[in-house]
Symmetry: C2
Subunit: 413 residues, 2 copies
């Protein structure tokens, strides 16, 4: 696809210009986008209606259609989120470190944009605006490859954003891939040198597909098989509150828990309480042999512990001690977010050290794993890999660095 090469190349060229823009210029462009979304609400909704109609014809689920739908309220919220991004500090140009060498070389480590970020995502059209605005703020050009089901909404949103930034930034700071062809994805993710980073956002299938084919570096997000472990020294009413919050406040998101591990010593006492509470919230309980001996529930196979339900279902397992709990979490989890509930400080610290996850909690809900809740002001996603970024990603995580080295004729002997 000759045209794809050309478009990516334009994004690369735009990124060179964008990288040199001042914070003020970038913020002006963002404010203009926020304004333009409000002014063009009707147009956006008209385009969105086409997608919704097609979606209904295709038989998309109610949940999918909900995520696809844009309303004046949603558009106003997107617009006001952009103003929040404007108010954040621009990380670009930050002097991270200065090294003075005995030979007189001065080495400055400076925060710079990646260059071109390519986002590959599904359904929710607000992702187009999120990624574009976070990219602009951090001096990155972005290539947006959204899902086919939102293509009309995405096209309209990009058109409006491009129009808005024109007085301040190169048009191709935002490049829209107007294609529903999966082959386009396969090409994009191999364009090393042109694209600096790929971020897949969507279901397991999409992420797996990108990971398998990519030659461009990828930041993996999304998978969240999270655990709550109730230690024998737990405050049980605190455990109850945390587990209910971490499961039912929003079961569909990645920082919701899927499994509860309970110390044997307190299982008889705690399981009936938590089971009754979860059932009040219509949560289906699956349990191990020992759990089933205490409360009425469906028996679970070991293999099932790998599953991420994202639904009103929870697994309960009784464990002998905290080391067994840790072993279980490290084996079956996705290194996302896990919590211990205990009043024993030593055990808690050991849990924090041994659990190999991005976010490890003591006595708090895993639902706090979120850029906003961490105080980042904005969130690109939650990384479940260890390279570059781990856990919630904010503006800093959308940057790289370079070394500027100042000499006076030094040569290496």
């Amino acid at each position: 696809m000759e045209r794809l090469n050309e478009m990516v190349n334009k994004a690369k060229n735009a990124s060179r210009i964008l990288a040199l823009k001042s914070s003020q210029e970038k913020d002006e462009a963002l404010k203009k986008i926020a304004q333009a979304l409000l002014t063009n609400t009707e147009k956006i909704i008209a385009s969105n209606k086409i997608d919704l109609k097609k979606g209904k014809e295709k038989g998309l689920s109610k949940a999918m259609l909900d995520r696809l739908e844009l309303t004046p309220t949603k558009i106003a919220a997107i617009s006001s989120d952009i103003l929040k991004v404007v108010s954040l500090k621009d990380p670009i140009g930050e002097e991270i470190e200065t090294i003075k060498r005995p030979n007189g070389l001065i080495i400055k480590k400076i925060r710079v944009p990646f260059g071109v970020i390519c986002a590959i995502y599904e359904s929710r059209p607000n992702v187009s605006v999120d990624i574009a605005c976070l990219s602009i703020k951090t001096g990155n050009a972005c290539i947006l490859k959204g899902g086919s089901e939102a293509i009309n909404s995405n096209r309209e949103l990009v058109k409006i954003m491009q129009e808005a930034i024109k007085p301040f930034l190169p048009l191709e700071s935002i490049v829209f891939i107007d294609s529903s062809d999966r082959n386009t994805v396969n090409q994009l993710i191999t364009m090393k040198g042109e694209i600096d980073l790929v971020i897949p956002r969507g279901g397991k299938g999409l992420i797996q597909h990108v990971l398998q084919g990519a030659q461009v570096p990828v930041i993996e997000t999304g998978a969240g098989n999270c655990h709550a472990y109730v230690h024998k020294d737990a405050n049980l009413s605190m455990a109850e509150e945390i587990i209910v919050n971490a499961k039912v406040s929003r079961p569909s998101v990645c920082n919701a828990i899927e499994t509860v591990l309970v110390d044997k010593e307190i299982a008889d006492k705690f399981l009936p309480i938590i089971a009754s509470k979860l059932r009040q919230h219509h949560v289906v309980i699956k349990g191990c042999q020992l759990t089933k001996a205490i409360i009425d529930c469906e028996l679970i196979e070991e293999e099932d512990f790998y599953e991420e339900y994202n639904d009103y279902i929870i697994r309960i397992k009784v464990v002998n001690d905290y080391l067994t709990a840790i072993k279980h979490i490290n084996q079956y989890g996705t290194n996302h977010s896990d919590v211990i509930i205990s009043e024993n400080e030593q055990v808690c610290e050991d849990f924090l050290n041994r659990i190999d996850s991005a976010c490890v909690y003591v006595n708090a809900s895993t639902r706090f794993t979120d850029g906003g809740e961490f105080g980042f002001g904005a969130e690109l996603g939650i990384s479940t890999q260890k390279l570059h970024a781990r856990g919630p990603m904010g503006l800093k995580e959308m940057t790289s660095y370079k070394y500027k080295i100042y000499g006076k004729g030094q040569i290496r002997i």
Copy 2:
């Protein structure tokens, strides 16, 4: 390969234990390795002789055999390098940042090991020791997959290292893949979840192969098509010294320059000087049309500017101005190391900002792009990607981080 899975799994388990070890325990193990290499010098050399004999039979080049060969002097140097690593500060456990949230949550960002690092490399057996020791220092288990031509040397070195660390650390902190099968590489690089990071070290072919097949995150190293640009306001004798140093002090390495760009205004004056100087060092010169009109040299095609010679060959191109030079470097370069020679501060600063490379120099040799020269004390390689690490990688670049979050029962509302 069932056995491979088992070995990788053992490395994962070892990494869990290693991650909890104190700096002192890790340093003791490293000192023991340094000692053991000296004590076992004869054994190492005997194994190395087998590789050398086979290499000669296979018809390996003199340069390849040189890199393969271990001598008592080389082994002593490897041993003393380990003691340098011992003396460095352990980055693990560092509190990178602490965030206190209005809801009382305390979020600590803590430096942690990756877990399991897999190195895939060629010829030089000292890489086995380098990677193993840097991994141990940073609490990572490592999987070593060296080249077939050094398999006897590598096997012996790993055996000695494992024996040395036994009293302090799990044996499988260092796992040796005793196979020359390229299929093993293909399996290793897809073992996501088990292996946390892959580092290919070797020729272009190897790196490309790893990048294409990997599902585990990769840090790319090696490619270095570096440039020196002589601006019209350069101190020409400084330019001469820097170019000669950057080309001939070690032409085979990635931070040596491949192309010299010279401003038109000074070409008549500078080209004869630099050409004569380079020829004194037996450097073959290829030039653009304009260069050829001034000095006697082979004519070069545009396409050739992508090439990395790693040899006594240099390209010279005459450019109209510094923006043309920057465009050339960003197009043909590998984003590694590039230098401007100029006394014009404003142009230099613009060059530093616009060149999209890991290390951008003003008036100094590109040969300084090196962990040792940057003061890192040790070097894992030089990254040419922008994700996670860029330029010389030291101990910090072999780490990730996790968030430890301390609550008192907070739930998300």
